[in-house]
């Protein structure tokens, strides 16, 4: 059996637990039809189009529920007719959830809602909901949640959430024909990551540094390699490079929990060592670092240079492999990351050692674990 067929057999066997969805053809066709202008069903994609129109036409955003519904009606009367205005709220952690409107048809649920930060600017255009944590239904076959727009002046983000489900798996608590059926809309977490960056070379600039080579202090460090052949990969694993002595940490703070330990040259290669004191933590259901630092070699215009195929090919021109990263942990949450770049001190006016910092928690930690819940009767929004 050739290599390809063997690999196909392996993957097919290991992933044989994945099952076809027999309703997918109907779903795809229905969704495609939903874009037709004469459609009866509510199409989430049309909602998004409406949102774009809203962004384009609203000069001074009126944040009230009535105004948003009125705008929806003006721009898309069919949707506005189907979407029943609601005026329901929940408040927690200084964030108010307002359900603007909702619609429930035979197999689709659409809810538009806003989140308003009453205390500050913890929301942004980057605000996301944990897709596993907003859930008014069980067994929904398709769901989507989109930020429609963010109004910075009023600290308000407006979203639309859409679920598609089969009649046999209606939202929990929903019973057709009974007025007692309710829908509970629940948000279990918000995140608004903030990205910044810093040139580690500039941070290093005036620090005297011994660049003392040392062995990696663990037996099996992680290696990041670029190799020209399978044999080269095996060979690379046998040649764990020396690293900057972690005992000589300069403790140059990059951001809380991340330090630039040092930058120096070993065997003609530039080594950049970063120490992370809280590598991974659990916040709610999410395993994440408070901050992360993605290190890359960039030119002065900010373009990544290390990962162009041309650059990698040049690296391997005379060498069968290149080890560009070594990382190790001490068994706990501490981690050291060392990147190795093929640049010389005299070339450093051409480059940045860019650390892209993603702040995942500082602005949001409380919101990651907060909860907003609104319940309302099905018959308030049932259209068919």
């Amino acid at each position: 059996m050739d290599e390809k067929r063997k690999m196909q057999e392996i993957l097919n066997h290991s992933l044989s637990g994945l099952q076809e969805n027999p309703f997918l053809p109907q779903r795809v066709i229905a969704q495609a039809k939903g874009e037709e202008p004469m459609k009866k069903r509510i199409s989430f994609s049309v909602i998004i189009i409406v949102a774009v129109l809203l962004i384009g036409t609203m000069t001074a955003l009126a944040a009230s529920v009535e105004d948003i519904n009125a705008m929806l009606y003006k721009l898309w009367p069919e949707a506005a007719r189907a979407l029943r205005p609601l005026n329901l709220s929940d408040e927690g952690s200084g964030i108010r959830l307002d359900i603007i409107s909702a619609s429930l048809t035979d197999d689709q649920l659409l809810i538009t809602y806003s989140l308003t930060d009453l205390e500050g600017d913890r929301l942004s255009e980057e605000t996301e909901l944990d897709p596993y944590a907003y859930n008014p239904t069980i067994d929904s076959k398709y769901s989507s949640n989109r930020l429609l727009y963010y109004d910075a002046e009023n600290h308000q983000a407006v979203f639309a959430s859409y679920w598609e489900y089969l009649p046999v798996s209606l939202p929990e608590g929903v019973v057709w024909g009974e007025d007692t059926g309710t829908i509970t809309f629940r948000i279990n977490g918000l995140m608004s990551p903030v990205k910044t960056g810093v040139d580690l070379w500039l941070l290093m600039a005036d620090n005297a540094y011994p660049a003392e080579p040392a062995s990696v202090p663990v037996a099996n460090p992680g290696l990041e390699t670029i190799v020209a052949s399978e044999d080269a990969a095996k060979e690379a694993e046998k040649h764990i490079p020396e690293v900057l002595n972690p005992e000589n940490n300069l403790h140059i703070a990059v951001v809380e929990g991340i330090e630039l330990s040092g930058i120096g040259w070993i065997d003609g290669q530039m080594h950049v060592q970063v120490y992370m004191s809280d590598w991974l933590k659990s916040v709610g259901i999410t395993n994440t670092a408070r901050y992360t630092c993605f290190i890359s070699l960039r030119d002065r215009q900010g373009n990544e240079v290390m990962w162009t195929d041309e650059f990698m090919d040049q690296l391997l021109k005379d060498n069968p492999y290149y080890i560009w990263g070594v990382n190790w942990r001490n068994g706990g949450e501490e981690q050291w990351i060392e990147k190795i770049f093929p640049v010389q001190p005299e070339d450093m006016d051409q480059y940045m050692i860019y650390c892209e910092i993603e702040d995942r928690l500082t602005k949001n930690e409380e919101l990651l674990n907060s909860e907003w819940i609104v319940s309302f009767p099905v018959n308030m929004i049932q259209t068919e």
């Binding site: 196909q8 997918l24 795809v28 969704q31 039809k33 990551p193 999410t286």
Partner: protein, 175 residues
């Protein structure tokens, strides 16, 4: 009564046929890429939706499976660029593989896991080449990289997989 204008019946039949034929392989492709069943299902649905809308643009320049695979891998790429996707710990182990009724073959699962653990740049090339049976030219067009880059990545991926596999075999022997 409103008249609902829809695509012609033959297009519906055609997309239905495509879904019935290729849904499973694309679901497996997307799962191996995204490590998440729900996201993989989203990606597959999006793939067929895009295919349905572009059926009239498919002229048979490539085979239909290649065409669908290209759409699917780009859907996976879009999803993986999402912020939340990057925040979730998507480390994968044998325990995370979908439960199946067939007898488990540990050696097979080890290979699958190692494929899924490849860096995304290598993983997508491996999945398209081995699993979707695309050639390097088709992969290059799909991923918008040079054929040489595809070959390089395949070579690196093979190296990583081989090393990992021999490790797995060794640890099995030691255990």
């Amino acid at each position: 009564m409103e008249t609902v204008k829809g695509p012609c019946r033959s297009a519906e039949e055609e997309i239905t046929n495509l879904i019935e034929t290729y849904q499973l392989t694309l679901l497996r492709l997307c799962y191996a890429y995204l490590h998440d069943q729900a996201l993989a299902e989203d990606a597959v649905q999006e793939t067929f939706l895009k295919a349905y809308r572009k059926l009239n643009q498919f002229h048979g320049d490539s085979n239909i499976k290649t065409w669908l695979s290209a759409i699917a891998i780009n859907c996976c790429r879009d999803i993986s660029r999402g912020n939340w996707f990057r925040h979730i710990d998507r480390s994968i182990s044998v325990d995370h593989l979908p439960v199946r009724s067939e007898e488990t073959i540990p050696e097979y699962d080890s290979v699958t896991i190692e494929v899924m653990r490849l860096p995304i740049r290598l993983r997508e090339v491996v999945l398209l080449y081995y699993f979707q049976d695309m050639n390097t030219n088709e992969i290059a067009e799909t991923l918008r990289i040079s054929q040489q880059a595809v070959s390089n990545r395949l070579q690196r991926a093979r190296a990583k997989l081989r090393e990992a596999l021999s490790n797995a075999v060794r640890s099995g022997q030691n255990g």
